[in-house]
């Protein structure tokens, strides 16, 4: 599988997306999937989405990004985390 890029977004690109990116990196490594991770602010998504395969965001994102968008809050709250990882893996394998 070609190495794919996950763009992780939050409000400031400093706090929650850092936790989410680190959790995704660890989990995908465990699943044997090699990925490239980038972090950004949700407001930067329209200009950065083109270079990403999957977007994971803890905040609402603008419409029309043209890429699958997956909710990242489960990495903070723990609620629904396994299902979210499956969703990310499925989107990466698409």
């Amino acid at each position: 599988m070609k190495r794919k890029t996950i763009l992780v977004a939050c409000g400031t690109a400093v706090a929650t997306s850092t936790v989410v990116a680190s959790a995704i990196e660890e989990a995908m490594q465990e699943r044997g999937i090699s990925i490239i991770l980038r972090q950004c602010k949700a407001t930067e998504l329209p200009s950065l989405a083109a270079d990403a395969d999957v977007i994971v965001s803890t905040t609402p994102v603008p419409d029309g990004l043209g890429k699958p968008v997956i909710k990242g809050l489960p990495f903070l709250t723990g609620i629904g985390k396994a299902a979210t990882l499956d969703q990310i893996e499925a989107a990466l394998r698409d």
Partner: protein
């Protein structure tokens, strides 16, 4: 020299812990905590206003199983050095959900984050994530009657 990994305990200051804060709005809580961080020299005078305005457009409430939490923060430009201020609320204050700004959550614990370096503060952020996922520990935090008890529960 090895780089120190900064954890939650390193970023807490007893002067910025407010157990049982009586507050009626999210702006009360953010202002009370933010002024403490300002007083101990962790943030600039612009910090509180910046957090308040960001909370209005990009809220930070986190829906959990029983006790909801909020983690207000803002851009690093307003921060002098990293710190975390914490308030617990006997009467919940509403914050909008980070994921859905139209969903309002009654929040009992507020972690006000002053962050300036995502790589060095990752450990602290992971500790907060682990802590809020630990229901019994979160209950002990909400129930902490004084600063010392709250400090011990947070720094454990």
């Amino acid at each position: 020299m090895t780089e120190t990994i900064t954890g939650l305990a390193d970023l807490l200051d007893r002067r910025a812990l407010l157990p049982g804060l009586a507050a009626v709005s999210q702006s009360d809580v953010i202002t009370a905590l933010g002024r403490k961080l300002e007083m101990i020299g962790k943030v600039h005078g612009s910090y509180v206003g910046a957090v308040l305005s960001r909370e209005g457009t990009m809220p930070t409430g986190l829906p959990l199983d029983a006790i909801h939490v909020a983690i207000p923060h803002t851009d690093p430009i307003h921060v002098i050095s990293p710190a975390v201020a914490v308030a617990t609320l006997n009467t919940p204050v509403t914050f909008a959900s980070m994921e859905d700004p139209d969903e309002w959550l009654p929040v009992r614990v507020v972690f006000l984050l002053a962050l300036n370096d995502k790589h060095r503060q990752l450990a602290m952020l992971q500790q907060i994530a682990a802590l809020i996922q630990d229901g019994p520990r979160l209950t002990r935090i909400v129930d902490a009657p004084d600063v010392d008890t709250l400090w011990h529960e947070l720094a454990a």
